[in-house]
């Protein structure tokens, strides 16, 4: 019986509309893993480092893999890649670079800095669910079916969270630094996280 933890996916994307598309894409692909959405490289670094508000690994677990837009405000994606390589605890986490930049220099740089894969965002006319549907069959995403991608086990405690992330409703003040939960298109079967949940 293999270990199948519901690991977290970290999405670092500053464009809200793109992030939205991605989340819908995941939902359509029946991805049940929690997705943490951060909007800039500095937050992503803080998250991976586990500093500041992200120090609570129970609430903010290390992701099993990262979707990274290269064009970010503040710290750039490539810089984050560079930094990530130097950190023993996170260097192993696979990164899929997501960018609209088709420049080969950038691409090569990303690969050399340890990106596992490089995806080019579709142009405006292709902004349909078709691509993200394609995405769902990549085998790179952890679906509720047995996955074909096995992600590395991270050494620190990755207490996986089932269900939603802390949102504004729990009394935490809404700042730009709070990770935004991905909204899910489909209602998923939840797992028991309190007393007496009846399921079928």
């Amino acid at each position: 019986m293999s270990e199948k933890r519901l690991a977290t996916i970290l999405l670092v994307e500053d464009e809200a509309s793109d992030a939205d598309l991605i989340c819908r894409g995941f939902a359509k692909a029946k991805v049940v893993n929690p997705i943490v959405h951060l909007r800039n490289g500095d937050d992503a670094l803080a998250y991976l480092e586990g500093v500041g508000q992200y120090a609570d690994r129970a609430k903010f677990p290390l992701p099993a893999f990262i979707l990274l837009d290269l064009k970010l405000p503040g710290m750039k994606g490539l810089e984050l890649l560079q930094w990530k390589r130097t950190r023993r605890e996170v260097r192993r986490i696979p990164v899929v670079v997501l960018t609209s930049d088709r420049e080969s220099a950038t691409m090569d740089a990303a690969y050399d800095l340890g990106a596992n894969s490089y995806l080019v965002k579709p142009g405006t006319r292709l902004r349909s669910s078709a691509l993200w549907k394609q995405f769902s069959v990549t085998g790179l995403i952890l679906t509720s079916r047995p996955s074909l991608l096995l992600v590395p086990r991270l050494n620190t405690r990755t207490q996986s969270q089932v269900g939603s992330f802390p949102d504004a409703g729990t009394g935490a003040h809404q700042t730009s630094r709070l990770p935004r939960p991905c909204r899910r298109a489909a209602a998923e079967k939840d797992l028991p996280n309190s007393n007496t949940l009846k399921m079928d």
Binding site: M107, S117, V120, L150, P152
Partner: protein
């Protein structure tokens, strides 16, 4: 899609046959070159005889690499590729192994594998793997430049780190 072949490095003939069958069933043919041990893999990628004819033996677009291989293990091949000073170091390598041990998975990613796939139990799952592999690694994924110089220096577009 890339015209360069997929390099399959796998020693078990039964596995090879089943994998090739699965890839053979795909709509679009995937050219595949098969090697049976780690030394051959390194020789192929180095362009050493008998693989010095790049016409017959082109640089692959992606490598499907088993771990347990005779002579040189998959990990050693992976290490060798990532150590290269040429653009070859960016070669996408996907581990395909029967091992689901986290020790192996961790090591693979630590050594710079792009992805890790576990050999499925059934051939229907194998068929799906082939299909997904083609869609992603030969389709969606933007391949790096394997013929130019390796990128060194500061990330482009960054003035100050």
């Amino acid at each position: 899609m890339s015209e360069a072949p997929v390099l399959l490095v796998e020693d078990d003939p039964a596995d090879v046959r089943l994998i090739q069958r699965a890839f053979g069933k795909l709509d679009k043919n995937v050219p595949m070159i098969r090697l049976t041990n780690g030394d051959d893999a390194v020789a192929y990628l180095s362009g050493l005889a008998p693989y010095d004819n790049r016409g017959a033996y082109p640089i692959p677009s992606v490598v499907l690499l088993d771990i347990k291989l005779p002579r040189r293990s998959g990990f050693e091949v992976l290490e060798w590729v990532r150590r290269q000073q040429s653009a070859l170091k960016r070669l996408p390598i996907v581990i395909l192994s029967s091992s689901r041990h986290s020790v192996d998975i961790n090591r693979a990613f630590d050594l710079g594998a792009n992805s890790y796939l576990a050999k499925p139990e059934s051939i229907s799952q194998l068929d799906e793997l082939a299909s997904q592999f083609q869609a992603y690694w030969l389709g969606l994924n933007e391949p790096p430049d394997l013929h130019g110089e390796p990128w060194t220096g500061r990330p482009p577009g960054i003035h100050h780190v």
